[in-house]
Subunit: 203 residues, 2 copies
């Protein structure tokens, strides 16, 4: 919006607009980024454009887990050290990185690339669910860990997948809910606290 | 930092790093932007890279006012409708856009491209002050409006310029200080309120 009122040179207005189109970047931040690029060394600008192009040109989806990868199958799917009897289902590639950082999961992943969201017109067919079912066909996978986000759409998607997968004889689990590390009982929201109570464990 | 721990494909890690280098963009936002680019249509990514390159290739500084421009002299400096007897001195090109939006100034501009900041090793010679003095040489400019930011460095730069320009016989003015529109006396900081009092005007 604001970019329209700005009597800036055309290339400036165009870059402000391009930055502004990125998620979470408003017109003011877009203007700041643009002026940063203007003043930055040419190599920094070139590094940015080349990195953008490389991401579009060199990456694809792994034909097995649908995660983004340079080589198909991806390094998780072709790693013999990973436990191929467990698949962790996530919404987005970023979730894989978050889970890997915990070093707590040694199985394989499956990226849905979204969640069921009727408000946005996204049904099960828009997600990589068919591809997940194909991976379960040979019976080698014993457990599917549902790691969708703990919000409305994530829960709905987990419920849908649970109904779909349970009849296949695979164990379907869900990430635990409870108090976050460093959290505070006093300030925890009701839902989180209720879930923490439900899921209480003997010490 | 965070990007180092991420077992992401190399192009992803590289784009996260490139976004992370932009001002105000931390590793998490950089990751989000990267995944946005991954999923965005190829045209959106191309529009961004072309806009970045256009800004670096097609823009230069106006040889008169030092503002960024596609054509030298810039459209302000070559506009006969502008009042060439007044020059408004600003820190950055963004400031010109902000002032233009007010439609309150019909003169020309001069962009310093920074402020005097000894902590950062930026002295008067690093700014476009020589170029400003050159514009005052023929005596056609009657007023210089100092519109540097109302902070320590901006004030110091304005003081420096005032001392430098006053002996040349040009009128040197400074943007007024006072309560911002929509502001609140009760919540105004002391300095702002003191300035508003000092600058009070008869109604």
């Amino acid at each position: 919006m604001a970019a329209d009122y700005v009597p800036a040179p055309e290339p400036v207005a165009r870059l402000i607009e391009a930055f502004n189109r990125l998620p979470g970047i408003g017109p003011k931040t877009a203007a700041r980024l643009t002026y940063h690029i203007l003043r930055a060394p040419a190599e920094e600008a070139r590094a940015l454009t080349e990195a953008v192009l490389a991401v579009k040109e060199r990456l694809r989806y792994c034909s097995l887990c649908q995660n983004i990868t340079e080589h198909d199958p991806c390094r998780f799917c072709q790693d013999p050290q990973r436990d191929s009897s467990a698949i962790c289902v996530v919404e987005e590639p970023l979730d894989v990185l978050a889970l890997e950082r915990t070093r707590g999961f040694k199985g394989l992943y499956h990226v849905l690339h979204g969640v069921i969201d009727p408000m946005d017109g996204i049904g099960p067919d828009e997600l990589k669910i068919r591809e997940l079912l194909a991976r379960l066909r040979d019976g080698r996978v014993k457990e599917v860990v549902l790691a969708t986000n703990p919000n409305l759409e994530g829960e709905a998607t987990a419920m849908y997948l649970h109904k779909l997968l349970a009849p296949l004889g695979v164990k379907v689990t869900r990430l635990a809910r409870g108090l976050p590390a460093g959290g505070d009982v006093e300030y925890a929201d009701e839902v989180t606290l209720a879930r923490a109570l439900e899921g209480r464990r003997e010490m």
